[in-house]
Amino acid sequence: MPSKNDKREPVLSRRDFLLRTAATCGAVAAAGVWGYVFYSKEPVRRSDTKIYTFRDYRIADTKVYPQLAVVHGRDAERMVRAAVDKIGGITRFINPGEKVLIKPNVAWDRQPEQAANTNPAVVAAVVRLCLEARASEVWVTDIPVNDPYRCFARSGIEEAVKRSGGKIRLTQESDFLPTDLKGESLKVWPVSGFYHQADRLINLPIVKHHSLSKCTMGMKNLYGSLGGQRNRLHQDINTSIADLATAIRPTFTLLDATRILRRNGPTGGNLADVSAGDTVIAGVDLVAVESYGLRFLDLKPEDIVFIQMAEKRGLGTSDWKSLNVAEMTL
């Protein structure tokens, strides 16, 4: 009795046989090509990632203007304007159409009075100056320690920047670019990509106490450009700070000493830790600006290891008195 499952395969014709053989040979050839092209001794395919370096944000040096401007007063806007005017005016530093990146210290979820972040009035004044110099874009950025949204909102900087016409740029994981700092302890680190898009960089630190490095000002402020596991930098904090100052050369630095966090830095949190400084200091020489700022914390340049290192590397002079200093009170 024949099987009930009697569906039969059709007999193979010559034409079908040739076609099938050709198709099989084609498949085998394709496998061979695949093996030839992709054979590798590496377990994972790596594409070459571009390693960036920092551009030099500075402008040509000149002796025409005072190298350090120190302005005392109460009105942050006028003080900032006066200080920048003294060192040559904003048009000396920013050409029309340039992209300007402003780096204040916005590391903490604190209010302006607690002096853990740069004074928002100072940031706003610098944003306005840049826009008056017809910068095409004015970006304000930082990579905070606390939640970025909270830091920018509660420091008052978000509001101040928006009102003065600038733009807040917050860094996402995808914005970081591997960058070679070519330092002694800092080699390739992820750096916020905005630093590679901007033409000019304005450093806007605040004067604060810090237990490990004794003080935090302009050089330590540059920590805020780094992503990755930057908490490891503490293990060699002075070399790290000097490395940052070597790799990143801002167009100029304007040090906010309107309020000084004298104790419990760099977080503060208590108004008793804050005293009035009522000063802003501007200059291209970051080491000089920083050395001047030490007086607010009752420190001397000799006490600060990273300032000594920076001076030894030729980044500037800690002897600010040797410079042409313009001091005024508004």
Partner: protein, 505 residues
């Protein structure tokens, strides 16, 4: 033209779209940036089952939960309208169910006919209400509003963010997020086999609203003289409530589809007319109902007589600031995930078994992911049931009365892992980030001898337990990433009278 489009079905669709978008918007704005004064837990507060269960466990109708009275009153008048007009999970189930079955040849009439399986939800309701009556709030596991809020917070939103990072600045990560995501997807996929499987068979809120719509004033009626028994009314029926025969009022979602589908104009919504068909009452077996309620009653003492958070303090169970004492916390926490959505550092995470079986998906802080932001009290603001009580900043930081800050735990050093202690390497990142003033972390400068005989001046950190608030930023920022050298333990938490170690503080 307009009057042709303005059918009851389309009006219901408009409402459904509105409420689904509203739900997503409210959940989307649940965060520091966009919250402003919006009532972000609105849907949870409208949920009568949440209100009743939380009332049973702790005896109060907490704040916004009073809004659920509107839904209860509405259901008494208009039937179980919530399920297809407002409920985000119901609407998502409806949309996916119709999409799954749109392009396949399926017998929708058979699928939409009532099945005895649909009794299950009443038994689940009895089980959870019995548990609640004894004092264990487990309803959030299956109550659709906490369920959908939690699913979206913990798995759907983070998954969407992965495709381009447009929802969050930092990709959120959640403890057991995949597990919750799979549960949510299973609920959605069940619609492929039985449309609105969840709503018809599982949903305890649906059961409660079904009971409330036992005899609603307005309902669907079928004119027996006009009806030709064509069963077209079953084609798009949401509830599986048999509008072609004796309507099961308790199952009817008032979706209005049968009215528009009826070629004879035999079905209307409103008051009964002369030839209106009779209705069927709720279909449950009283015996099963008592059995499941008994199961809940039996399970309760078992839940409470094990090593769990309510009986034994656990070091890794750090509750958000403002949380009630553990026993009360378990009475109020819905596991809805609002606090997890709002937390700016992603520290608040759904517990797995850290708090015992009862505490599944309740919030706890995982400091390797985030930490409690010093100036933040958002989690208490969004908690719909008050398991996390709303705090003022003054109260959290101890700036008003009482003068003591709120503690959620205490930090401990692991000197075998701490770089200055174990390896003579400079660090004290923990001291830098410690947010209190004066800082709870302090250091001693010591001169140590290194391996090569040289000496080094080193700062070694210590903790002041009276100043530490347990925020965990030290643990979060510690460079020893995998298991930090300073870790928070729940001991010393303000909410507990028993979990204390220091005599004087």
């Amino acid at each position: 033209m307009i009057s042709r489009l303005l059918t009851l079905r389309n009006i219901r669709r408009l409402y459904a779209a509105f409420f689904l978008v509203l739900f997503l918007l409210l959940l989307g704005v649940t965060g520091f940036r966009r919250m402003k004064g919006y009532e972000t837990p609105l849907f949870l507060e409208l949920d009568p089952l949440t209100a009743i269960a939380a009332f049973l466990t702790s005896g109060t109708l907490y704040k916004g939960l009073a809004l659920s009275i509107f839904i209860m009153a509405g259901t008494l008048f208009f039937g179980r309208f919530f399920c297809s007009w407002i409920c985000p999970l119901g609407i998502v189930n409806q949309i996916s169910g119709s999409l799954f079955n749109k392009f396949r040849a399926v017998d929708t009439i058979a699928l939409n006919t009532y099945r005895t399986l649909y009794r299950l939800k009443y038994y689940l309701l009895a089980f959870f209400i019995a548990m609640a009556a004894f004092g264990s709030l487990q309803i959030g596991l299956l109550d659709p509003i906490p369920f959908v809020t939690r699913s979206f917070t913990v798995s759907v939103f983070p998954a969407f963010n992965l495709q381009g990072g447009w929802l969050y600045l930092r990709q959120p990560l959640f403890n057991g997020g995949t597990f919750l995501g799979l549960i949510f997807l299973s609920v959605i996929f069940a619609n492929r086999f039985l449309p609105r499987f969840w709503c018809r068979a599982v949903c305890p809120l649906g059961a409660l609203l079904g009971l409330l719509s036992f005899r609603p004033l307005l309902r669907i009626w079928r004119d027996v003289e006009r009806c030709t028994d064509c069963k077209k009314c079953l084609g798009h029926c949401h509830g599986g409530c048999d509008p072609h025969a004796a309507l099961r009022t308790t199952e009817c979602h008032v979706c209005m589809n049968c009215i528009d589908d009826c070629p004879e104009d035999a079905i209307h919504y409103g008051l009964p007319r002369t030839a209106s068909a009779a209705h069927l009452p709720v279909d449950v077996s009283r015996r099963r109902l008592i059995e499941t309620a008994l199961a809940g009653a039996v399970l309760y003492p078992m839940l409470r007589s094990t090593i769990a958070s309510g009986t034994t303090p656990r070091p890794d169970l750090i509750r958000p600031p403002g949380s009630l004492p553990e026993m009360d916390f378990l009475r109020r926490c819905l596991k809805c995930g609002q606090c997890m959505k709002v937390c700016p550092t992603n520290a608040i995470q759904p517990a797995l078994l850290e708090a015992g079986f009862e505490g599944l998906w309740t919030p706890l802080l995982i400091n390797s992911i985030g930490y409690c932001e010093y100036n933040c009290v958002l989690c208490g603001r969004v908690c719909p049931t008050g398991a996390i009580t709303p705090l003022t900043l003054e109260k959290k930081l101890g700036k008003g009365e009482p003068k003591k800050p709120l503690k959620i735990g205490t930090a401990f050093y692991d000197r075998g892992r701490c770089l200055p202690w174990a390896m003579n390497i400079d660090c004290i990142v923990c001291e830098e980030v410690c947010p209190t003033s004066p800082k709870a972390i302090w250091f001693e400068s010591v001169e140590v001898q290194l391996r090569d005989g040289k000496t080094k001046l080193l700062k070694r950190p210590y903790l002041d337990p009276n100043l530490c608030i347990g925020c965990g930023i030290c643990e979060n920022k510690c460079p020893v990433r995998d298991r930090a050298a300073v870790r928070i333990s729940s001991i010393g938490e303000s909410r507990s009278a028993a979990n204390q170690m220091i005599l004087k503080s």
